[in-house]
């Protein structure tokens, strides 16, 4: 079984209903970036023993385990933005970052974005398209800083990351903040929204914004624009709601469901140069 966004949502529900030890027999054979970050986020919030349980789902030398460890460390505030010599200008296929204030978007973050762009360029995304994708990614990262906290100029912690293989890419932005519904209902125009599922669709598809009089909040328009004529996948989880949107600027199809409540918003985006976009396995856990 692959631990992707969908199975992470199911796994956290299983854990919330039956305890985190209930995950032991599941036996994930593979994991995606979004699956690992999302489950790590839920476990981080659930406490020390839950974190250990989730970490032990991954074999000791797996990439998924490293991502899990790093994610939990970042949520715990243990993050160092400095990167070693040659790495700074390299094109790693996978990298994670942490944001919690505008200061986090400094030169080091800019270099991180450039590494993502470079990785895309070296993995079949052409010369121009990577710029469009990193722009959408940057908008999603800024969302954490602008919208994750009910207090203006404050922000929750967010873990962001990307994973690129030949012709396919995933990127994830997942914070521990207030989620979408709470932010949107503060705007009288969207106060009628009843639940997280409706709020996610309103934000991602209908351009709902937290600030009255502002157009196109949350930057999702940029995401759909970045898919160009392709049908990318945008998988959102906020509080106890999930929304999956497929398509691009011309057509967006949304499906929603409920899930275990995890504070904050997770945005997972998958795009493929050719064919259907789907989350990319990090490595085999078997």
């Amino acid at each position: 079984m692959i631990l992707d966004s969908a199975s992470s949502e199911a796994a956290s529900q299983l854990a919330f209903d039956n305890g985190w030890t209930a995950l032991r027999p599941v036996g994930f054979s593979e994991a995606t970036l979004s699956g690992v970050i999302d489950l790590s986020r839920a476990a981080f919030l659930a406490g020390e023993s839950s974190r250990e349980e989730v970490l032990n789902l991954f074999t000791s030398d797996s990439l998924a385990r490293r991502v899990c460890q790093e994610t939990m460390a970042f949520y715990g505030g243990r993050f160092d933005a400095s990167r070693g010599g040659d790495f700074i200008f390299s094109a790693p296929r996978l990298e994670l970052w942490m944001v919690r204030s505008w200061d986090c978007l400094g030169d080091d973050f800019q270099l991180f974005i450039q590494r993502f762009e470079r990785a895309l360029r070296q993995n079949g995304f052409g010369e121009r398209y990577p710029k469009v994708l990193v722009k959408a990614f940057s908008e999603m990262v800024e969302n954490v800083l602008r919208h994750s906290s009910p207090i203006e100029c404050d922000s929750a912690v967010g873990v962001v990351g990307y994973h690129v293989v030949n012709g396919s890419a995933d990127y994830v932005v997942a914070d521990l903040g207030q989620g979408v519904l709470s932010g949107l209902t503060g705007n009288a125009d969207w106060a009628h929204l009843q639940d997280e599922q409706a709020a996610l669709v309103a934000a991602a598809r209908d351009g709902a914004t937290r600030f009255r009089g502002e157009q196109h909040g949350f930057g999702f328009k940029m995401v759909f624009k970045s898919f160009l004529e392709r049908a990318g996948v945008l998988s959102l989880r906020s509080g106890d709601g999930v929304a999956i949107l497929r398509g691009n600027m011309d057509s967006k199809v949304a499906t929603t469901c409920s899930c275990a409540h995890v504070p904050g918003l997770r945005v997972a985006i998958s795009i493929a140069v050719n064919g259907d976009a789907q989350e990319i396995p990090l490595d085999s856990l078997a």
């Binding site: 030169d107 974005i113 710029k131 469009v132 722009k135 940057s138 800024e142 602008r146």
Partner: protein, 210 residues
């Protein structure tokens, strides 16, 4: 002939254009520079050189480039009203021109400005010389038509337009309203000579769209 001394400053935006603090820094520099200078009633063209910016987010544009436009527009709105200062940006007779803009950055700026039904002016800036401008964002069809009619003219009055384009069947008052709207949108500068307002494009020539 409209003259203005000094009528042009340029500001180089740093490459970092992510987030509102970076936008606020550019805005502050532009406003500080403009506030230090004396300029006449034709106002001051502020050329923001974005050559180093290859990635700009909406927050950056909303916090930096858009308020610069609002500063000029606020001046126009208050002219003759007796108001002096309102809001969070000062009302200065500025004409922002965004220079050497990367295509992706231009696209994001278009989103932000057009989303508010506002235009902006983009132009090349090379060796301190401002080239011909292009209008992006949103512009009402009647104003687009007016821009097309006057784009190569040095200066113009409503009476001249009414006389020269009499086939358009537009009264001088209506031409005056259009020119005034373009001035409010910072696409034309203006100066009063006698009873008439004389208008001239903010850049040497202006055209609409790509």
């Amino acid at each position: 002939m409209i003259t203005a001394q000094p009528d042009f400053i340029s500001i180089a935006a740093p490459s970092k254009a992510l987030g509102s603090p970076a936008g606020e820094r550019v805005l502050r520099e532009a406003l500080d520079r403009a506030s230090e200078l004396p300029y006449d009633e034709a106002g001051l063209v502020v050329a923001v050189d974005l050559a180093k910016v290859s990635l700009a987010t909406t927050s950056y544009i909303k916090a930096g480039l858009l308020p610069l436009f609002f500063s000029g527009q606020r001046y126009a709105d208050q002219a003759g009203s007796g108001l002096t200062e309102t809001g969070d940006v000062p009302a200065l007779n500025l004409y922002p021109v965004f220079c050497n803009v990367d295509d992706e950055v231009l696209d994001t700026m278009n989103e932000v400005f057009a989303g508010r039904r506002l235009p902006f002016l983009a132009a090349p800036l090379c060796n301190g010389k401002l080239g011909n401008g292009r209008v992006f964002g949103f512009l009402d069809e009647a104003l687009v038509r007016t821009i097309r009619l006057i784009h190569r003219r040095e200066q113009v009055t409503a009476l001249e337009l009414a006389s020269e384009f009499s086939k358009e069947d537009i009264k001088p008052t209506a031409w005056n309203n259009r020119l005034n709207d373009l001035w409010r949108l910072r696409l034309l500068r203006r100066i009063k000579r006698g009873k008439a307002w004389w208008y001239k494009p903010t850049t040497k020539e202006i055209t609409y769209g790509r």
